[in-house]
């Protein structure tokens, strides 16, 4: 049964990476097979599901989805783009900044689905290729999402699992390093693409003609939606002192928004991405199966032997290993499997350093390949449908150097501040 559990999990990872079948179907079939084969019992499967993670995801999907209807995020993205005065070089840095910030406080997939179509328009107006700008945004979304507990799925998994780590801990420990990485990555990308980013000054004036606020005028519930979203973000900052879980904060904000700013509850709940929720459910059950069979302990023991029980070496193996694993598979299942491993490695003494190593590795590893993070896949899909497809190799040639830059910065950060 132990071997079967390992084979099922590895087969699921391979199928998710190859994208032959939708990842949610893979996770649910894998979870079902584990229960049917007796890898874990039905009760153990239900216990394995982390309801806090699901609550946080559902709450944020409702909050962000309903606020997006008001046009406020489009306004924000356009206003920032207009600050560039249509200069493509400046646009690189500003788009990286706005995508990074939106990713940190909404989530990186929403940020990408919002800014990429706008970027295609901006590139069209400037008569330049959209691919460099979209690549900058994808990489910035994964870097920006690293900065907070709610920004990137690996952080949501870690933040809801580790009680000792709150929203402010993530900001204090991950936001400064992510800001440095974002700055360095944007500068690298600017020099890499500057040849492709020349535009006619006359075209630049077109950007200024965009009426950024047009979509907000006449929309109902704009003020309420923005106020509740901001209030929820403040709630995240206060969840530690108030002894309330992030999931409760997100679901409270979502409930309030549904009460005061949603006329049609059915339409409002359509904003929940059920495929993602069920993907997480299947994944939790599969990882629970690995735990029940003692495979997680074996991996943890192997890592401890490999690093000779050195905390510093363990942190570097987690950082670089998580990045490699996330790049090859998908950072969500990889992080879900690594969380119990890190739990075992730290033993009874809480150690936040190992968790930051996992968060940094999994989130930054999401930049290496086109399949490594959901935001990358989504951006590639939009580019493809818009007739400007990007190849796997072209993404790799840009993503790998940025990932290496990020990991070197993260390594220096861990050495200086976490050891």
């Amino acid at each position: 049964v132990e071997t079967l559990a390992a084979v099922l999990f590895l087969a699921a990872l391979a199928l998710i990476a190859l994208e032959f079948v939708h990842r949610t179907k893979v996770a649910l079939v894998g979870a079902g097979l584990m229960v049917l084969a007796g890898v874990l019992t039905e009760d153990e499967a239900i216990e394995a599901v982390d309801w806090s993670t699901l609550g946080l995801l559902v709450g944020m999907m409702i909050l962000v989805g309903l606020t997006e209807r008001t046009g406020v995020f489009t306004y924000l993205a356009l206003r920032v783009a207009q600050l560039s005065n249509g200069q493509p070089g400046r646009l690189v840095f500003l788009l990286a900044l706005v995508t990074g910030v939106l990713s940190a406080f909404l989530d990186n997939l929403t940020a990408i689905l919002l800014v990429v179509p706008i970027t295609l328009l901006l590139a069209d107006l400037l008569r330049i290729s959209p691919i460099p700008l979209v690549l900058v945004e994808v990489l910035a979304s994964n870097i920006g999402g690293t900065a907070t507990l709610i920004g990137d799925p690996p952080n949501i998994l870690i933040g809801t699992h580790v009680e000792e780590l709150g929203f402010i801990d993530f900001i204090v420990n991950l936001a400064p390093v992510s800001f440095v990485v974002l700055l360095l990555a944007s500068t690298y990308l600017y020099f890499l693409f500057r040849g492709e980013l020349r535009s006619d000054p006359e075209r630049a004036a077109e950007i200024a003609r965009l009426d950024a606020a047009a979509d907000m005028r006449g929309k109902p519930y704009v003020g309420r939606s923005i106020a509740i979203l901001l209030g929820t973000i403040v709630g995240f900052f206060l969840h530690g002192p108030l002894h309330v879980e992030p999931a409760v904060v997100a679901l409270s904000g979502a409930t309030l928004l549904l009460l005061v700013a949603a006329d049609d509850i059915e339409a409002a709940l359509e904003r929940v991405e059920w495929a993602t929720i069920f993907f997480f459910v299947g994944l939790f059950v599969m990882v629970g199966g690995l735990e029940q069979q003692g495979l997680i302990d074996e991996v943890a023991e192997f890592l401890a032997d490999l690093t000779n029980d050195s905390r510093t070496a363990e942190m570097f193996v987690i950082l670089w290993g998580a990045a490699a694993g996330s790049a090859l598979v998908d950072n969500i299942p990889f992080t879900a499997a690594m969380i119990p491993v890190v739990d075992t490695l730290q033993g009874d003494d809480f150690d936040d350093g190992r968790w930051w190593a996992l968060a940094l590795g999994a989130c930054y590893g999401g930049n290496a390949t086109m399949i490594a993070a959901a935001a990358n896949v989504a951006a590639a899909g939009v580019l493809d449908r818009s007739g400007t497809p990007i190849s796997f190799v072209r993404f790799l040639l840009v993503g790998v150097p940025v990932t290496l830059i990020s990991l070197v910065v993260a390594s220096v950060y861990l050495l200086l501040f976490q050891i």
Binding site: L113, L121, E206, A214
Partner: protein, 148 residues
């Protein structure tokens, strides 16, 4: 009127490798809002509609945007691209196939129209395309049959 065999179907289809230019000629010449895209065996693989035509002419990212009011000032800059559009194969732009069997009863046809995003269905007999049925024409035939 008891089945679609008694209605007038419009023979409007293009092969799946036909260019948009050919599909545009066909859809412009008939009174149905969609034409069938068929394979070598006359099996319906998709529908070419006025939406498909619009999407082929204008930037595809417009379809990806949730908000578009901000475009007002620059719409003149987003020029349609008829040359590029005309040469694209219809299979790149077609919608999902919406079909109904030639022997389906009328209430079934009505239900298909109500649940379909298109206002025209491709009618098939033993899996092969026989003609397009527009929603308006379907209703008009029933009313005419009742002497109205």
């Amino acid at each position: 009127l008891s089945s679609l065999r008694d209605t007038t179907l419009v023979d409007a289809s293009v092969p799946d490798d036909a260019p948009v230019a050919e599909a545009t000629r066909v859809i412009s010449a008939v009174e149905v809002p969609a034409i069938a895209v068929v394979d070598r065996n006359r099996k319906v693989v998709g529908l070419f509609t006025s939406d498909s035509l619009l999407r082929s002419l204008f930037p595809a990212y417009l379809d990806e945007m949730e908000h578009t009011a901000f475009l007002e000032g620059v719409l003149h800059e987003l020029e349609p691209n008829p040359q590029r559009s005309a040469a694209r194969p219809v299979r790149e732009l077609m919608e999902a196939p919406e079909t109904i069997d030639l022997d389906a009863d009328l209430s079934h046809v009505a239900a298909r129209f109500l649940h379909s995003p298109q206002a025209a269905l491709a009618v098939v007999d033993e899996g092969r395309f026989v003609g397009m049925l527009g929603q308006v024409e379907f209703c008009r035939t029933i009313l005419r049959d009742a002497g109205m």
